[in-house]
Symmetry: C2
Subunit: 436 residues, 2 copies
């Protein structure tokens, strides 16, 4: 059968992994797809790198725009990243009637709505399994595996860099700065780690998952994003004493009034499977009304794991590229005319439990003042640790876990606590999810 011709844009880490795996497993992949999938042309600014990786098995060019208008090409794989030239290339490829496979989460989270409308108009597919959680087929699970369900919420460890750093902080008692250095030395964090450690990358992925889980548009600009750079090692230890682990979670939850969409360090009970996902691994927990909780675990980054997801999309598109669009899985899981404009709630409206740590004078009555404020705000306490002051010190830590309340209410109570004379400085607040 006639091969399907792929134009690959960008032969960096993921591009290289995709090329290598497609070549190594060509026979097995053809046995599955029913026809050969060939990377016919590779575009990269670095032609020398491209030559090295492809070993002469593909045409090379440094002009990606020539690829997206090449009549020979059936599918364009965009692995350039970012929202500049990548956006233009993807839109031009669609305009030229090409199917697109991309791993570009930033592009989809920020320009997905525009891209899917364009694809819909042209009757082409835009596949993006590789954009979320690397090699884990989570997009397929959400979009096709769980179609029976009203998805209630999902929560994912979807950034390997931060999970590696948090694992190091807990295992070795390191500060954030030291753990970040380790991560950089081992290649788990970039020289400028901002996108990862500040939660932006996780928010892109959570945004994409929220859209296909709930049938809503991409609303990245409404997501609440808080990273781990301000996380204090002491809170990891206190959390452990309370039976919790701290993970950077991307959370999307359906509520009556809208959708919660947020990324932040989160305490989760240590007995949950997802609490035990360590190092650079990823995992996504999905709660459906029929299926209950399901969990998907694997490598969330890296050349071959991400290449695995790119190729799975290539096989899907190969199977469906000549079929009527109505036979295809809709981009956002729901039919295009069935996507609903549900608002993302502001972080003030989020309902969750809280971990609070405060530095107080170690004297009678302090705890009574604090718990009175919480009681007046109808915030119940689930657990509390009051440390004895260390020898020679007059201050000590109080740590508490609250029951669920709306964030605005928690913040108001915290503001009142912070003005108590016996309370030193700011209250540290972390969110807690039982994930049950």
């Amino acid at each position: 059968m006639k091969p399907i011709n792929v134009g690959l844009l960008g032969i960096g880490t993921v591009g290289g992994g995709t090329f290598t795996v497609l070549k190594r497993n060509a026979e097995e992949i053809t046995r599955r797809a029913g026809r050969p999938i060939c990377i016919t042309v590779v575009a990269d600014k670095n032609l020398e790198l491209a030559r090295k990786v492809t070993g002469g098995d593909a045409r090379l060019t440094d002009d990606a725009f020539a690829v997206v208008s090449d009549p020979e090409i059936d599918i364009v794989v965009e692995l350039i990243g970012g929202c500049g030239v990548a956006r233009e290339l993807v839109l031009q490829a669609i305009e030229n009637g090409k199917h697109v496979v991309t791993a570009n989460k930033a592009l989809l989270a920020m320009h997905g709505n525009e891209i899917f409308v364009a694809a819909q108009k042209k009757g082409v597919m835009v596949a993006f399994e590789a954009a979320v959680a690397g090699g884990i087929p989570i997009i397929k699970a959400l979009r096709e595996g769980l179609t029976a369900n009203r998805i209630e919420w999902l929560a994912g460890i979807i950034n390997g860099t931060t999970n590696f750093i948090l694992s190091e902080m807990r295992d070795k008692g390191l500060s954030f700065a030291d753990a970040l250095q380790d991560a950089q030395a081992l290649g788990y964090a970039e020289a400028d780690p901002t996108f990862d450690v500040e939660g932006v990358d996780a928010a892109h992925k959570a945004t994409i998952m929220s859209a296909i889980a709930f049938g809503i548009p991409m609303q990245f600009d409404k997501a609440y994003v808080e990273g781990i750079s301000k996380l204090d090692a002491v809170d990891i230890r206190y959390a452990e004493q309370l039976g919790y682990r701290i993970k950077l979670l991307g959370i999307a939850r359906r509520r009556e009034q809208g959708v919660e969409l947020r990324v932040h360090p989160t305490l989760i009970p240590e007995r949950r499977l997802i609490a035990n996902v360590e190092g650079a691994m990823n995992a996504v927990l999905v709660q459906g009304d029929a299926v209950g909780a399901t969990l998907y675990y694997g490598k969330g980054a890296g050349a071959e794991p991400t290449g695995s997801a790119v190729i799975a999309d290539l096989v899907d598109v190969t199977r469906l590229h000549t079929s009527d669009p109505e036979h295809r899985v809709p981009h956002l899981a729901f039919q295009p005319n069935q996507v609903r404009d549900v608002p993302v709630l502001s972080i003030d409206e989020v309902i969750t439990s809280y971990y609070l740590r405060m530095r107080v004078e170690d004297k009678p009555g302090v705890l009574a003042d604090i718990t009175r404020i919480l009681a007046d705000s109808s915030i119940s306490i689930e657990a509390l640790i009051q440390k004895e002051a260390a020898a020679g010190e007059s201050d000590t830590d109080i740590i508490m876990l609250t029951h669920r309340t709306v964030e605005r209410n928690a913040n108001a109570a915290i503001a009142k606590i912070e003005v108590l004379e016996s309370v030193q400085g700011k209250v540290t607040k972390l969110r807690v999810e039982s994930l049950s």
Copy 2:
């Protein structure tokens, strides 16, 4: 758009769950599928039950054969179970050009080859997500999510009854018989639990997964099947001392000479995520050459979780039922002419590590005799516990973990150990998998 008409055969637990979820989430499912999916007719011997569950929302009949020849019906959902009438109904439905969705693992493991040939000839789909691991979309992950990979092995906790019993034995120190009684009282085990506890159900599921993972036919009759009914609680405790949990695993592994396909109680390192899957939950770990290890976790049984998988198949079939067969995902993941007749290796040929427990006289030289026999068979010892004899007893236990060796070799060494005068009775042998 014109609804798709479904004929449901069997309105027991899974049939009821399917009906309930499809009705409850009708709006959301239609938003995904692009057209309504209606259970038009329900066939069950128990018309009263059918009436109660459907509440008048479907035609009822006690004649399932009328449903599979009803020209109005597009898809037949077979939830009767077993290999008798269910096989006839499925084959007749295919013969009549209907697509089939089934949760019947025994039928597929034993008659799948015949059924898929028939379906291929008629150009209809047979979907079976619900046949393995209930609500976990593991068939979809293996067949579509991991198409880039050469699957190296998979190992699954794919029987909730036995996992519940093993969890109870470990948590509460119960014997198998007592834990089985608990499971029966709680509805996790049937009155006749043979199929579950003897590993037959898990072997059906492992057979199906092996076929789609490796592109081979169903070869259930070649599977090695060993259940948990002879498992001694003492081995669970010793395994724990060595840092292992015992789980009933269904394992399929690709080897040079063929495929290992086996179900048996297995020691796995307690730090593995899958070792911490407790109660009636299921999980499948898949090792692909590109993606590495991925894990899929969720409820493996029950009305709504299994119904969730049935409906996911209904949505898939609805999307694809008017498309050319070449656009569809092949039944066994690989194109029909690309399925290869790879032999299943006999259990003698399996390569794994072993846990050995033996009762010996507590006197000098015994251990030397035993380790000499193992050394002569080139079996290395990875860990060893030798208990001191209890007060007043002259016998004691030796427990050891070996390195990997071929099972025939292990058995030969064990036979030699058993004839030693200082060794009492039989050696208990359990298999160990590092799953790394």
